[in-house]
Amino acid sequence: MLIEILQQTINGLAIGGVYVLIALGLTTVFGILGIAHFAHGSVSMFGGYLTFFLVTSQGLPVLAAIPIALVAGFVLGLLIEIVAYRPVRHANHINAFIVALGLTMMVEGINLQLFGHEQIVIPTGLSKVFRLGGVTVPELRIYVIIAAIVLVAAMMLFVERTKTGQAIRAVAENRDAAILMGVNVNSIPLIVFGISTSLGVAAGIMVGALFAIAPGIGEGFVVKGFAVLILGGLGSFPGAILGGTVLGITESIAAGFISSAYKDVIAFVVMILVLLIRPQGLLGRSP
């Protein structure tokens, strides 16, 4: 029993890391622009597909393909900001909402055209399995957890310790005051989209390596990403981290003890229960 819980917790940490990476991107974009960037999941999976393509068709080693995909993600983020969201920046919020939905369909379509409808798995060649006590841990899962921790820590350091990171927070908290500090509020959304998309691509690669990518998977992840934001508390970084981890572990334990068919249901039931007790989310501020 204890061992089984431990086992599922470790499984849950890996998928939780994916949720956290997606949620961090969503929460920063939401904080700055107030838009629900639905296309984020599909764009993230594009990154996974791209890595698969670079490895299988171009023969690149995984460790070379990943940085290329991350950089491509950054550039893609810039393009999305400029081409899709910038034109509706001063318009009603419903416009950005529709752009987000349209972009989702478009990116899903592009993924389908370029990479087909077959599910793909990024071949990593990491097949070792560690056994600690009764718990089995595939080495890939450990690397995914470590990578997620490193990326989240890097993001936190960037936001808390650099001027640009602080400017991102400042714009989210009070846009006019940020302008009065000399922040260029035209370039901040660019940086935010670049970084968020890069983190999303990292998540897409993890999904592609741990599980599989197929059409529609990205949309599932973006819904989970928003669930994490609400669970953790909208606009809270620590909330997104805690929320993603909790959701990942809950899902895993549910899948292990009840049935993997019910894991989403149980995850959302937990979310609803948390919100009944703490409407502002786990780490959100009370209104």
Binding site: A167, R169, I179, M181
Partner: protein, 233 residues
């Protein structure tokens, strides 16, 4: 140093500043007084690039900055301490102060941080607290210190005494006097006309988007119309 010429500001179809001209010389403290809704804040926002200038011009140190972007105006040397303080509520006091120095790249930022906390000991005490948790008076001190962290060449203050208890208002004005004594050029908007006129060298009286009177602060203070309407005599 700062010169507005025939400045007009509108929100959509509604014009709220109807062609005003005013000057602030280097080292001067100039007050803008007038009733609610007269267009004082709109004027300051237009100078800072927060709202667009409809027509007319804003000159700063001989350069035309009309409708320049807000961040470029800050870099030119104009900083505003805005109405209602506008601190970053979830960022700590220190982080707020550092944001004030956002455009700076020099090595003296830490030293200035120390200076600000010497000037406002309460900020040192509260340095790691979220700014939103401070009292109104403390937030005003933070907003003033944050503005000074930019090392501006001119500092605009929009109603620094708004909503504060009389004792705190007095200390805000003491602080402004201290900043003036340091040689800072100041453009001050205030509803508290008496305090503002006591502090300022010159003043402009706003009424419904127009300047209806201007002159040395002492003269405005003793002008019968001003005394009746704004000083409560």
């Amino acid at each position: 140093m700062l010169a507005l010429r025939d400045l007009r500001v509108n929100y959509g179809a509604i014009e709220v500043v109807h062609g005003i001209s005013l000057d602030v010389a280097a080292g001067e403290c100039v007050a803008l007084i007038g009733a609610n809704g007269a267009g004082k804040s709109s004027t300051l926002k237009a100078i800072c690039g927060l709202v667009p200038v409809g027509s007319g011009s804003v000159q700063f140190e001989g350069r035309d900055i009309t409708n320049a972007s807000g961040h470029a105006i800050v870099r030119a040397g104009i900083t505003m301490c805005p109405e209602g303080r506008q601190v970053f509520p979830q960022m700590s006091v220190i982080q707020n102060l550092r944001m004030g120095a956002y455009t700076r790249t020099d090595k003296d930022q830490d030293a200035d941080l120390g200076r600000m906390m010497d000037m406002f000991p309460i900020l040192r005490e509260r340095q790691t607290q979220a700014a939103g948790k401070l009292s109104g008076g403390e937030q005003e001190m933070l907003a003033i210190a944050r503005a000074l962290m930019a090392r501006p060449r001119i500092c605009l203050f929009d109603e620094p005494s708004l909503g504060l208890a009389p004792k705190i208002v007095a200390s805000v004005f003491e602080t402004l006097a201290q900043i003036k004594a340091m040689g800072m050029t100041i453009l001050l908007v205030e509803q508290n006309s008496m305090m503002a006129l006591n502090l300022a060298d010159r003043a402009y009286l706003f009424e419904a988007g127009r300047i209806v009177m201007e002159g040395p602060a002492k003269e405005l203070k003793s002008h019968p119309d001003v005394m009746r309407a704004y000083l409560g005599h």
